[in-house]
């Protein structure tokens, strides 16, 4: 059974999440991909504020297909998280608490995730049509000039995801593979 989880995440919720848990996320989250990550980290390096308060928030690594008339968004599944790895530790240090993407993270990201008591979740890649059904609102909030890579704020209801890296050092990719390897 999937756990219902409210966004933004609280410390208590994060403490309850274990690698391998299925969750249904509801609330607000932010969408950012490589180009937006790069710009956010560059802003931080210059001592400038981020375009939104990232403390306690969750980022979804995603680049949707265009929204057809009458829908908030098009197909909206996760993209490969690796491309964000070089920027992620800096954002975790700023207070980022949740990340949703797909695929393994670097050791640096895993260490930083644990250290800052954050959590990494995966959504099913290639299930963009299904996932889009749980997105009820999508707004561009920053970096509009990046086009499809602008930062979005989403309102979601029961967005399905699976916990990959928890605060206890659990790693579903590593544990799952070991369990079924022959």
């Amino acid at each position: 059974m999937a756990k219902k989880v409210k966004l933004p995440l609280t410390e208590e919720t994060i403490a309850e999440l274990k690698a391998g848990d299925n969750v249904l996320l509801s609330g607000t989250l932010y969408v950012a991909r490589d180009a937006a990550h790069k710009r956010m980290v560059e802003a931080l390096k210059r001592g400038e504020p981020l375009p939104f308060d990232i403390k306690g928030q969750t980022l979804y690594y995603m680049g949707p297909s265009p929204a057809p008339p009458g829908r908030p968004i098009g197909s909206a599944g996760p993209t490969t998280s690796t491309r964000m790895d070089m920027y992620t530790p800096r954002l975790l240090a700023e207070g980022l608490k949740g990340m949703i993407g797909k695929g393994i993270r670097s050791e640096e990201v895993k260490t930083a995730t644990k250290k800052h008591k954050a959590v990494y979740l995966a959504a099913v890649g290639g299930a963009g049509a299904l996932i889009s059904k749980s997105i009820i609102k999508s707004d561009i909030i920053a970096y509009a000039d990046l086009g499809p890579e602008a930062i979005l704020r989403l309102e979601v209801t029961d967005l399905p995801a699976t916990v990959i890296n928890d605060i206890y050092g659990g790693d579903l990719y590593v544990e799952g593979k070991a369990k079924y390897r022959k």
């Binding site: 695929g103 995966a122 099913v124 049509a129």
Partner: protein, 281 residues
């Protein structure tokens, strides 16, 4: 000489990319349902259920199967007695791609100047076009919108001939193991063996067009495909890498004679969102 209008090519390409991006083929659906029966891991079973449900939603509600609507890969088999009129063939193909991605609400993912500015071309062109000249007066068009996540896990190895069959199996299995969760497993594994570096790579891509689960007509290759599939499915990666039995749905290999000093092997992974469609004009 039979005439085929360029406009007919454009229309066909546009339809095929639309169909491919909204409807998963019967062969893929059948393979996924079989995989659902065989998968032992509860999380893996749920992933396959999600993929099947996604396919339903995509076709019933007209939402693309995946937000990554791919690079527009197009295979053309042009009969030598066919004559394209009222325009040139590749312009017609690219116009079809433009129409499909623009009017079909598909994501445009192509960027020009790949190692510097990476500017989106705005209409998902140019297509990557492979053309074969064949006997006859028909034009067979196959489209394969290819997602980046899986394409990025492609590998080419120039093995020593002494590596032989074992070397080939090892190379492919390692490629899948290293790709791990990234290419959105369960995958279909395209393998090209022989020829030259670029020939092997193109065979591996072409092999993905075969119906999922259909073995090679060459019994030696079919045997190799079975062995690779068994080994890959013992890796434990499982659906989406959450751990499980089904890492690949199928292995498709193609082979070509090669140089006495060479044994090229290419691997091209296709994610479970295995979208391809064909038509003969």
């Amino acid at each position: 000489m039979r005439e085929i209008k360029a406009g007919a090519v454009t229309g066909a390409i546009s339809n095929l990319f639309n169909q491919a991006n909204y409807e998963l083929g019967e062969d893929v659906l059948t393979a996924l349902k079989k995989a659902r029966q065989e998968e032992e891991s509860p999380l893996g079973q749920e992933v396959i259920d999600t993929i099947l449900k996604n396919a339903d939603i995509a076709s019933n509600e007209r939402i693309p199967l995946c937000q990554d609507c791919g690079v527009a890969v197009v295979f053309l088999e042009l009969g030598q007695d066919a004559h394209i009129v009222d325009g040139d063939l590749y312009t017609a193909v690219n116009e079809g791609v433009r129409q499909a991605y623009d009017e079909g609400y598909l994501r445009k993912s192509m960027v020009a100047r790949p190692f510097s500015e990476r500017i989106n071309t705005g209409d998902n062109t140019p297509a990557v076009i492979h053309t074969d000249i064949v006997p006859g007066d028909r034009l067979k068009i196959t489209v394969l919108p290819k997602g980046g996540g899986a394409e990025n896990m492609a590998r080419l190895g120039m093995l020593l001939p002494s590596a032989g069959r074992r070397g080939v199996v090892e190379f492919v299995v390692n490629a899948v193991d290293e790709a791990w969760s990234k290419p959105c497993p369960p995958v279909i594994i395209g393998v090209g063996i022989g020829g030259t570096a670029e020939k092997a790579a193109s065979l591996a891509k072409h092999a993905l067009l075969r119906k999922v689960g259909e073995p090679s007509p060459d019994s030696e290759i079919a045997d190799l495909e079975r062995e690779i599939l068994e080994k890959v499915n013992n890796l434990g990666i499982g659906p989406m890498g959450y751990g499980g039995r089904i890492t690949a749905l199928s292995v498709h290999a193609e082979s070509f004679p090669t140089h006495i000093t060479s044994l090229p092997v290419a691997v091209n992974l296709q994610c479970h969102s295995a979208r391809h469609r064909e038509i003969v004009l």
